[in-house]
């Protein structure tokens, strides 16, 4: 006779886990729907979900560690999400073929510049190494920023928060600022906003013109790859320099 199949799942932790995951998705989807309806950039669903979940955890006296542990599944989906970003990278490979040297060099310099500035300012004014790592990685797309933060011992929640902030600044003020400093070419605006304000900025400027969107997404994905390549070396050396 066959042995009965024993499924080794802790029912007590399994049920709240599903409930918390569904609640998180529900909250996020409601805010995503709200933004879709209103088309207001600052009604960012990620930011609003965080702002809504924090008081709920405090009200139900649920420690963050337990919430994070129960929703581990969502955090684990970060990895396949990063892999999926290979598709837009593939789509833009052909468009950078004839100018990849200029674009590559420009974006490498841009990435080094922003890491050095952010790391230095944070070290001088806040003086907490893990926050310096987080702020150095805030210009790139969230899944890659969080993965790199985990690798370089930064603080993922500060990275997530700073990434949203950088995205909102670029999305809300980027185009007017670029017009103000007389950067009016669609390609230049797209590249700048993709580099500084990743997907959030790019989604916003895609409405201005097709070229804005194409150069924005090209820039955001190339910058994320460059950041992944240079940040471990750069951040470790900056850390040695300051300590």
């Amino acid at each position: 006779m066959m042995e009965p199949l024993v499924i080794n799942i802790d029912v007590l932790s399994f049920v709240p886990s599903i409930a918390l995951i569904l609640a998180t998705i529900g909250i996020y989807q409601s805010f995503a729907y709200l933004q879709n309806k209103t088309q207001l950039i600052w009604l960012n669903p990620m930011l609003l979900s965080i702002a809504a979940i924090i008081p709920l955890l405090l009200y139900f006296k649920l420690p963050f560690e337990q919430y994070f542990h129960s929703t581990q599944l969502l955090n684990n989906l970060l990895e396949p999400a990063v892999v999926a970003l290979g598709f837009p990278l593939y789509q833009h490979l052909t468009s950078i073929k004839h100018q990849w040297q200029v674009l590559g060099l420009l974006l490498v310099l841009a990435v080094i510049l922003v890491i050095v500035i952010s790391f230095t300012l944070t070290t001088v004014f806040i003086a907490l190494p893990e926050i310096a790592v987080s702020l150095s990685l805030k210009s790139i797309t969230t899944p890659i920023g969080i993965e790199l933060t985990q690798q370089l011992n930064g603080d993922t929640s500060i990275t997530a928060f700073a990434i949203i902030l950088a995205g909102l600044f670029g999305a809300l003020l980027g185009p007017s600022w670029l017009n103000f400093i007389n950067v009016k070419s669609a390609k230049a605006q797209g590249l700048a906003i993709g580099a500084a304000s990743h997907a959030l900025g790019t989604a916003t400027i895609s409405k201005i013109s097709y070229e804005h969107g194409a150069y924005g997404s090209l820039s955001l994905i190339v910058c994320a790859v460059i950041t992944a390549l240079v940040s471990p070396f750069l951040i470790n050396n900056l850390a040695v320099l300051f300590l």
Binding site: I25, L77, E79, Y90, V114, F125, V183
Partner: protein, 120 residues
């Protein structure tokens, strides 16, 4: 539709598994980034049909935001940091974002204008 979603999931899982393997042996990048570069390569060398996966990928990219919420909620443990350094934190993000915007925008526009002048 379901078939294509299954096809996309399988390919992403395979790229990620290979990425984990490479990361374990070589180190350097996170496994997921190796996976992303492998995914780009298999598309570039036409080992995978991009038309079959396009819809699933855009669905993933559109909805991936929810995956970052738990990590973001971690800011709850930083009450003291926000209280002490909240302003500096926002100011640093502001300054570095606008420096980056200006650097990329001005440099690229300069290059484009110079190139156009050479062509004329």
């Amino acid at each position: 539709m379901v078939k294509n979603a299954f096809y996309s999931t399988t390919i992403i899982a395979a790229c990620l598994a290979l990425g984990k393997f490479i990361a374990a042996y070589l180190g350097g990048l996170p496994a997921s980034l190796y996976g992303m570069l492998i995914f780009t390569s298999v598309l570039h060398f036409q080992l995978v049909n991009p038309k079959k996966i396009a819809a699933s990928i855009s669905w993933i990219i559109q909805h991936m935001g929810v995956c970052f919420v738990p990590a973001g909620v971690g800011i709850i443990n930083h009450y003291q940091l926000i209280k002490d350094h909240g302003f500096a934190l926002v100011a640093i993000v502001f300054i570095s974002t606008f420096t980056l915007l200006s650097f990329v925008g001005l440099t690229y526009q300069h290059l484009v204008i110079n190139k156009d002048n050479c062509n004329n």
